[in-house]
Amino acid sequence: MALTETPMQRERATTIYERSKPGRRAAVLPPAEVPEPPLEELIPAKLLRSEPPALPEVAEPEIVRHYNRLSRRNFDLDSGFYPLGSCTMKHNPRLNERVAALPGHARLHPAQDPGRAQGALELMWLLQESLAEICGLPHVSLQPSAGSHGELAGLLLTRAFHADRGETRTKVLAPDTSHGTNPASVTMAGYEIVKVATDERGGVEMDDLRAKVDDEVACLMLTNPNTLGLFDENIAEIAALIHEAGGTLYYDGANLNAVMGKSRPGDMGFDIVHVNLHKSFSQPHGGGGPGAGPIAVSERIEPFLPRPQVVRRESGNGSGPSFDLDLDRPKSIGRLRGFQGNFGVFVRSYAYILSLGADGLAEASETAVLNANYLKARLAEGRAGERVPVAFDRHCMHEFVLSGKPMKKQLGVATLDLAKRLLDFGFHPPTVYFPLLVDEALMVEPTETETKESLDAFADAVEQILAEAESDPEKAKQAPYTTPVRRLDEVKATRKPVVRQPLG
């Protein structure tokens, strides 16, 4: 037990079920107002429930206290620096929450007749147009619910594209630095993943790529800038190679925040792009969603886009255009989910695009890149430069990757230990142990919304932790000390999973 236990550590975690007492309640329902026959007269007895589910019995004040207490056991973006690589933890404007909550958005039923949902459809159409311009591709479907859903969509589009030409291809290429969702999506879409190596500059190894491109390749999935935060300068050649072999080129848009208004995936030769609205376009992450993963595609992919598609129709009679949901898409891959997508996310992201405008989006990417390079420079100084050197020493885009290998070898302090010690300094650690090809990786993405002061404070904290580790490596290895709980036993949670509260 740590000697200086914090007040929050002293407080044992209790669940809402442990605060329950028979007879307590919060909800008061409206009166029935209608005849109240026994339920058996409405539903056959064997289809009725005998015992209601054991939901908690708690009054409203205690529910509020319970969840407020829980909230204080979370670290969040509004409380401090959150340089989680590939996650783009930028500021979440509260304006977006306000406009998403307007009843015309929040209480609009998804099956409302399109004629009475013109504002919503126009908003979706405007967002489609905006994303098309940002991605440099002419057509957009907003339907996918998150990046991984967009990936699956893209692979199914690829499959439909090839099938339409009478081809069945079996392989999808992706670099060894790719996000884990890429290979997982490939398997779900019924393809076989083939890994492509990374060269000494951090880009795709061209010889390896050439060796693996053949007429069985359906698609190449790429993130550019990649997960090392580096722009692949060979992208035009890569695109030409894939296209000559008859494949499609898929852009994982997780890193789009580096290039908004600066460079466009469509101009690089990509056919399909997914955009994480919960990254580059400021939708709050919510502790693990909601997000949205719209896809932008080239002309040749357009016929296969999911149904329904939001379309604008000219009236032809002098009145303004109208908007509709187009279901009549014979070559479409079909639906990927219910209704039209995560509309509430579209509202927030469209508000963000309106707020920033063309210049603001470009400036956001410029500042993201500036902040990343500045923090990289700061971390190249002093102990950090020696113990956790940058993995590829060149200018980065919006993020960069350090290797904790020397630190581990010299001090016995692993990347995980450094990450945990950062928690005591009030920082969210970078993404750790990813990408896989960098030993003891730390992937740092500061985003544009951080001040120079925050970046300096983070660099100073890393320096201080490394100094401390030189004299007392155990300090980091046992960290954290000040968080609501200390290092948790993840092995136990997997070996003997307790995944719900035992009741009764």
Binding site: E97, L123, A146, H285, L336, S355, E363, R487
Partner: protein
């Protein structure tokens, strides 16, 4: 500096000097020149906060929402009352703005909320394991199919009732092209899945049988009886449910379901024109290690304190990559939290009472609407909160007439069921009062009568 950045000219100079370049543009030189855009995006200039608000409010004002109309639309998403504490708590920065809890020591709030959510959903469905949520309803159905293939020892066939939500069936079909499976649909008789046809459709190649109860036409299925044929052949039984009915209807876990899932929107989530909401996904112990999505688990910290972590992460894409049980990463944590709070607010008694209210108001509405001249019941099977009518008049124009009187009358079944071209699906929530139902009956009667007489709208 723009809206949400703060690098001053002086900051910028110091930062560039530290990097060792003259301008920010130098940093973009790693992008080959022909690939640099070299012009501003063709988008409008940025706007002030007030202007953005006005623009978005103007767009919102052109939607007929459930504040403006009396909403009898359902079809999977329902106009329930969301208690104020849901907004208050989910809008707290501590829940709104963190990422997925990869660092559990500073994510105990979110992780414990997931654990409480899993407990609630496990209670509702009477199945022992719940994940922390998926995207939404229909794609959860497709995710169950993927699981069934993984456990099905080479079986690649799905048997699906036409009572399953059309969007779920379409989504399943979309995904099945990818993972290579075939689908056989089983029809509906008298509002309920045709038991004989289902028994015939199932064979030794069937990986899973998919049912929904209440089904899309609102009818409460006898899941146990229907599921028997699949059980005999060793297929998984997957049941989609409306979570709001589980205070009164027999839960899928007591009827032999291996997986119970569904659209979570009725629990604490607003309509939002279809999302974001969440999907829930519960299963038996044997399926736990094959389940999709995050799962929170209880454990201890280094000092023996109780804590929560993401359990069974070796199922997931960030660890297992191409061998993962699913590709899902970001899902719907905040929406699942909303459900958790709503369920705590309703509580054990409130949840059951709400279910009873839905059943009784549903029965009242059914009787009232079926008594309208030119309106008949599409089926007479028992219902929970949604009812299917058949109109002796074209549905589209009737809906228009009702809308003109401020009523969203329901969902036209002909959209997805050509066999019910004259069908209308009407949904009840606790917000639909008796007088609203009475007014609706009157408006529906007038609309049907006018259409039958060919009166111009």
């Amino acid at each position: 500096m723009s809206r949400y950045t703060s690098a001053t000219v002086a900051d910028r100079e110091q930062m560039l000097a530290a990097i060792g370049v003259d301008s920010v543009e130098d940093l973009f030189e790693q992008i080959p020149e022909p690939l640099r855009l070299g012009r501003p995006l063709a988008l409008p200039d940025g706007m002030s906060e007030a202007e953005v608000y006005e623009r978005l409010a103007e767009l919102a004002g052109r939607n007929a929402d459930a504040e403006e109309q009396v909403c009898f639309l359902g079809a999977g998403m329902y106009d329930h009352y969301v208690p104020a504490i849901v907004d208050a708590i989910t809008q707290r920065s501590e829940f709104l703005t963190p990422y997925t809890p990869y660092q559990p020591e500073i994510s105990q709030g979110g992780l414990q909320a997931m654990f409480e959510f899993q407990t609630a959903m496990s209670e509702l469905t009477a199945l022992p394991v719940s994940n922390a949520g998926l995207y939404e309803g229909p794609s959860s159905v497709a995710s169950a199919a993927y699981l069934a293939l993984a456990t099905g020892k080479g079986r690649r066939r799905f048997v699906v009732s036409r009572g399953v939500h059309p969007h779920s069936r379409e989504t399943l079909a979309t995904y099945s092209v990818g993972y290579g499976a075939e689908i056989e649909e089983v029809g509906i008789e008298g509002g309920l899945t045709d038991a004989g046809a289902l028994a015939e459709a199932v064979d030794g190649e069937t990986a899973a049988v998919f049912l929904q109860s209440p089904n899309f036409l609102g009818a409460v299925e006898d899941v146990e009886a229907l599921g028997a044929a699949g059980k005999e052949h060793g297929a998984l039984l997957v049941v989609a449910v409306d979570p709001m009915t589980l205070g009164v209807l027999r839960p899928p876990g007591e009827q032999g379901a291996d997986i119970a899932l569904g659209e979570g929107q009725p629990l604490g989530n607003r309509l939002d024109f279809g999302g974001p909401s969440f999907g829930f996904f519960c299963g038996t112990e044997t399926l736990m290690r094959k389940m999709p999505g995050r799962i929170a688990g209880e454990t201890d910290d280094a000092d023996g304190r109780r804590g929560f972590v993401l359990a069974l992460q070796t199922r997931e894409q960030h660890i297992r990559r191409e061998k993962a049980t699913h590709n899902i990463c970001t899902a719907q944590a905040l929406n699942a939290l909303a459900a958790t709070i709503h369920l705590a607010w309703l509580g054990r008694d409130g949840f059951r009472e709400l279910g009873e209210l839905l059943l009784r108001r549903g029965a009242y509405a059914r009787e009232r609407l079926a008594a309208v001249p030119g309106v008949e019941l599409l089926h007479e099977a028992p219902i929970a909160r949604e009812l299917a009518l058949s109109l002796d008049a074209p549905v589209g124009p009737v809906l228009e007439r009702c809308a003109d009187r401020g009523i969203a009358a329901g969902y036209p079944l002909g959209r997805e069921y050509p066999e019910y071209e004259d069908g209308l699906l009407v949904a009840i929530t606790e917000r639909r009062t008796r007088s609203q139902i009475d007014d609706f009956a009157e408006a529906l009667g007038a609309a049907v009568a006018a259409e039958r007489q060919g009166v111009a709208a």
